[in-house]
Each structure stands twice: as structure tokens, then as C-alpha cells.
Symmetry: C2
Subunit: 304 residues, 2 copies
């Protein structure tokens, strides 16, 4: 595989969404098979969903689940680095990272198309909600918002809950990301699905499309699919992974019910064209943004 | 009019979108009539579109147009303060503000329901684009992102181009705004309407709905309508003013073609409910946002 990809105007994204079991080995094997199929379909930057190696264990607080964590580099990065090299594709691979005893992160690693481990991103914004007890498991990330020059594109990885924070998307874009990718595990509580389901799903898509528009970048969300947990409880993951362009138009969407591979061709000239037409980066008022580092602006503010 | 509005859970927003002529007096009269009708329909916080008193003069760079500017307080604020007092409604009134000779702003004033001038906001982010030559006319605002405790709601006024900047929405929300309102004058170049029109309009709505979701606030956009300029050139303003709730759901939308009054009842308990369900403000990583005050993060950043 030559470096031809970096000199062209296009790169092809492949998103792997899948159901998972409690058997790590079968999840890893399934991901491998789907990555191979995505590569056959022309995908160059292939992204897996959040915590793809396991079931979504954060539905309860159970210290024995820390057994699922592993170091970076470690078995998962070694295995998928070899796969990236063999297929000549970039892989965006989530890992439940064991940094030390009692110190764990929700992490994603970037593997270049020659198998090089380019680096990692640790989930910055950690949710905590019934059935999403992530603050129990994951120390908030401390690596900022790195971007990675892969063979095919400059990728800004973010993870799930990060997607609700315009700050994270902006910082990745300011670091030069062409593609923001959000490995995710978002779903409905079964008892909310009928009442809140459509609104929540639409909000999720709207936010991420908004990041694309505000920043003039491609955005990809890779979301877990299928039900996990007791039949009448647990979570219904939405699937519906998607890629949108810098105008916020959705290029491709995955199934709401089953494993799927979402492929989208991204033309990086669209980034330049979009930002010339709507030059928001020209006009940011950086002299006025200091308050964004505040928790709350307590005093009522007027100009009087 | 008692203060009953402040002790209830609801406030009613009224948006006035209208075509304008080059006759300031007729625009002012029309706005007055539409405000009266909106108040009859129950509106309590009534917002006018950007630069409602005149045609959208920024289609060319013409220094004589500075004659349209006036001080704050001045004739427009005096007139509409009296109207606010008479009707017992809050008015959000755009003014082309003359601050001094050679110093002009694109401003909005907040008039409380007793006619008090609560303060002003000056457009922070100034566009410049063919037919939108705003950098010629308007000095960028220097008042930050004030919010105003009106009789019926705490209002965070922003103006048009500000809507593309998540930073502005966030800062207003952190200052406690319950309602962000964007007086606007956005339209199509006639030669873009068929090719780009739907995408641009959808992006505009998506961004503002995103601000509502990210911040758990109500958002209102009040947009000019109708064609201004030569028949085969000029601008087709979109109208389609709308209000959305803190989940990003659109509550009401105005006409794409004609004068309209958009009324929406906003239940402020929805803000609390939304933020309890999706507690983004709890989880902002303010320790990691310093880069937002940078123009660009030049060095490729990785964790290696």
C-alpha cells in the first residue's frame, strides 16, 4: 500500500456497528471480520464502536468488571495493529484502558495503515446516569483533544458523551481535524423508547450535525446496536451510525437493529469550500470567550 | 399588569417577522401593529427581526446609510418603550446604533414590560460576504453576552451571525439565560436558492436547535422575510422564524414568504427537566477548554 491516499482529495470512512456478547473473544473475532469486509468495500479509515470488545458493562457498578481492562499497548492494540498493517487501513479502536491499578480510562487508539500506534485519546466528558454508571469506571481523560495524522486523513477522535459538548468538537477542529469520530454506546431505556425515543435520537444526530456545520468538518458517529441486559430492562442501543459532511448533510446511516458497515466517501475539498462560504473560523471572537472556562457565570450580567 | 408572569412556570414568546421597505416610518408602523396583534394573542416576550426599522442596507457599502443609525436611548427605544409599557410586554428591539461619529453597532435593546430600558447587546460576531457587507458598517460588539431579567423570562439576546458560534450560546446559557433569541436577516442569493437553499436553511435550523440541546434552553430565531434588492439579484430572506424547546423540538415556525407572528408557550420546568435528564452542565471539563481562546492550535497534537 503506497501513501497515495494522502495526496488525493478523498478518503473513505467505514463504521463498524455490531451487537456484542459477554464473550470478548467472539466480539474481537466479529470486529475483525467486519473490518475485513469494510476494507473490501474500500474503507480506508475504519472505526469501531465504544468498548466494542465487551458488553456495555457500565449498566451496573461491579468492580470485577475491571478485569476487562488492559494496557495500551496491549493485546487489543497488538492484534488490530497487525490487522491494520495487513489490510493497509487506519483503525480507530476503543479500549478499556488499564493505566495502573485503580486507574482506568475509556480510551480510543489510533492505528495507522502500517500498524503504527499513533497515539490515544481518553474520553474527557464522563457521563453518569442510571444504567450508564461510567463515573464509577473511568477516570476523566487528561490528554486534551489530540488529532492524528493518519495515512488517509487527520482524525480527531472523541468518545460518546463528548458529543454533547461543542467545546470538544471545536478544540479538535482548531487542531486541524478533518474528521471527528465518536465511538458511542447510546441507547434507550426500554421504558423511555416510546415516549422519548425519537426526540432523543434526533437530538443526538442534530448535535453532531451541528458540530460538522460549526466547524466545517466531517463527523462520524459509530454506535453500538442491539439489546443488552434483561429483556424488560437493560438498554436498546440505537445503532444508526452515520457520517455527515461539513454542511451537516448525512452521507450514510446504519441499521437501527443489526450489525452494519457504514461506508462514506469524504471529499476533503468540501472542507475548504464550506469554510470559504461560511467563514466562521475567521470571525470567532476569541477575546470574548474567557468565560467558557468558568463553571457558571453567577452574577446577572447587563451592560448597565 | 401584575408581576404574575414571573411566578408562573410559563412564558409566551412572540416573534415578528416582516417584509421591510426603504421607508423607515412604514416599517416602524408595521412593527407596532404586529406587536399589538402578538400581544393580543398572548405573547409576553416579543422579538423583532434584525435591523427591522430599515431595509437590509448591508447589500452594498454606502456611507450614506449611516444616516439610518441612531443613539440608544433614542427615537426607536423611546417609541417602543412606550409601547412595551402600554401593552405590558417585554420587547426585544434591534437598533442600528450610533455610538459616536464613525462608530456604529448592530444592537438589540431589551425593554421591560414597564417600559424600562434594561440594557443592550451589541452583535459580537460580524459577517462579511457578498451582499452582507457588515464589517463595513458594524464595529464588533464589546459587551460580552449579557442576559436580562425581564418580567417574564431571563433573556439572552444574540444576533444573526452569532448563531453559528456555539461559544456565544454557551456563554449566554452560563449567565442563566432561559431563552436565547436571535434577531436575524438571513437569506439566499437568488442564484444559490435552487442548489444550496435547502441545505443552508437546514444547517441554520440545525445549529440553533443544537444550541438548545447543548445548553438546555429555549431558542428563538426571528428572521426577516421577502425579497430585497433587484429582482434577479438581491436577497430572498427566508422568514421561517421559529422557537424550539430545550430538547431541540421546534414548537412553532413562521411563513417562508410573508409577514407572520410566531407564538410559542415556553414551560420553564422543561429546562430543569431537560438538564436533569442530560446533565451536560455538570460534566463540562472546564480544565480543558483553554484552547477555545486561541485562534488556531497550530502544532499537531498527540499524546506521544
Amino acid at each position: 500500500m503506497s501513501d497515495a491516499g494522502t495526496s488525493t482529495d478523498q478518503f473513505t470512512v467505514g463504521l463498524i456497528q455490531m451487537t456484542c456478547t459477554r464473550q470478548v473473544s467472539s466480539n474481537l473475532d466479529k470486529a475483525t471480520a467486519l473490518i475485513e469486509r469494510a476494507a473490501e468495500q474500500g474503507a480506508q479509515v475504519i472505526c469501531l464502536q465504544e468498548l466494542f470488545a465487551s458488553h456495555y458493562f457500565c449498566q451496573s457498578e461491579d468492580a470485577s468488571q475491571f478485569d476487562l481492562a488492559e494496557p495500551v499497548p496491549g493485546p487489543i492494540t497488538t492484534r488490530y495493529a497487525a490487522l491494520a498493517r495487513r489490510l493497509g487501513v487506519v483503525l480507530v479502536v476503543p479500549v478499556f484502558e488499564r493505566r495502573g491499578s485503580g486507574l482506568y480510562h475509556n480510551t480510543v487508539v489510533l492505528l495507522d495503515a502500517d500498524g503504527t500506534l499513533l497515539g490515544r485519546y481518553r474520553k474527557t466528558h464522563i457521563p453518569d446516569d442510571p444504567l450508564y454508571y461510567e463515573k464509577f469506571y473511568f477516570t476523566p481523560g487528561d490528554l486534551g483533544y489530540p488529532v492524528f495524522d493518519t495515512r488517509f486523513a487527520r482524525v480527531g477522535p472523541l468518545i460518546c458523551w463528548d458529543q454533547w459538548f461543542p467545546e470538544a468538537a471545536r478544540l479538535s477542529a482548531l487542531a486541524g481535524a478533518e474528521l471527528l469520530v465518536y465511538p458511542s454506546a447510546i441507547g434507550w431505556h426500554p421504558d423511555e423508547r416510546s415516549t422519548e425515543g425519537d426526540t432523543q435520537h434526533d437530538a443526538w444526530r442534530t448535535m453532531q450535525r451541528g458540530h460538522a456545520i460549526a466547524n466545517g468538518v466531517f463527523v462520524a458517529a459509530v454506535n453500538r446496536v442491539g439489546h443488552e441486559g434483561p429483556a424488560d430492562e437493560g438498554l436498546d442501543f440505537w445503532g444508526q451510525s452515520f457520517v455527515c459532511d461539513p454542511a451537516g448533510c448525512v452521507l450514510a446511516t446504519g441499521s437501527a437493529e443489526t450489525d452494519d458497515i457504514v461506508i462514506a466517501v469524504c471529499d476533503r475539498t468540501h472542507i475548504e469550500r464550506q469554510r470559504r462560504g461560511w467563514p466562521f473560523l475567521r470571525d470567532r471572537r476569541i477575546d470574548s470567550y474567557e468565560g467558557l472556562s468558568s463553571r457558571w457565570l453567577d452574577a446577572p450580567r447587563t451592560d448597565q
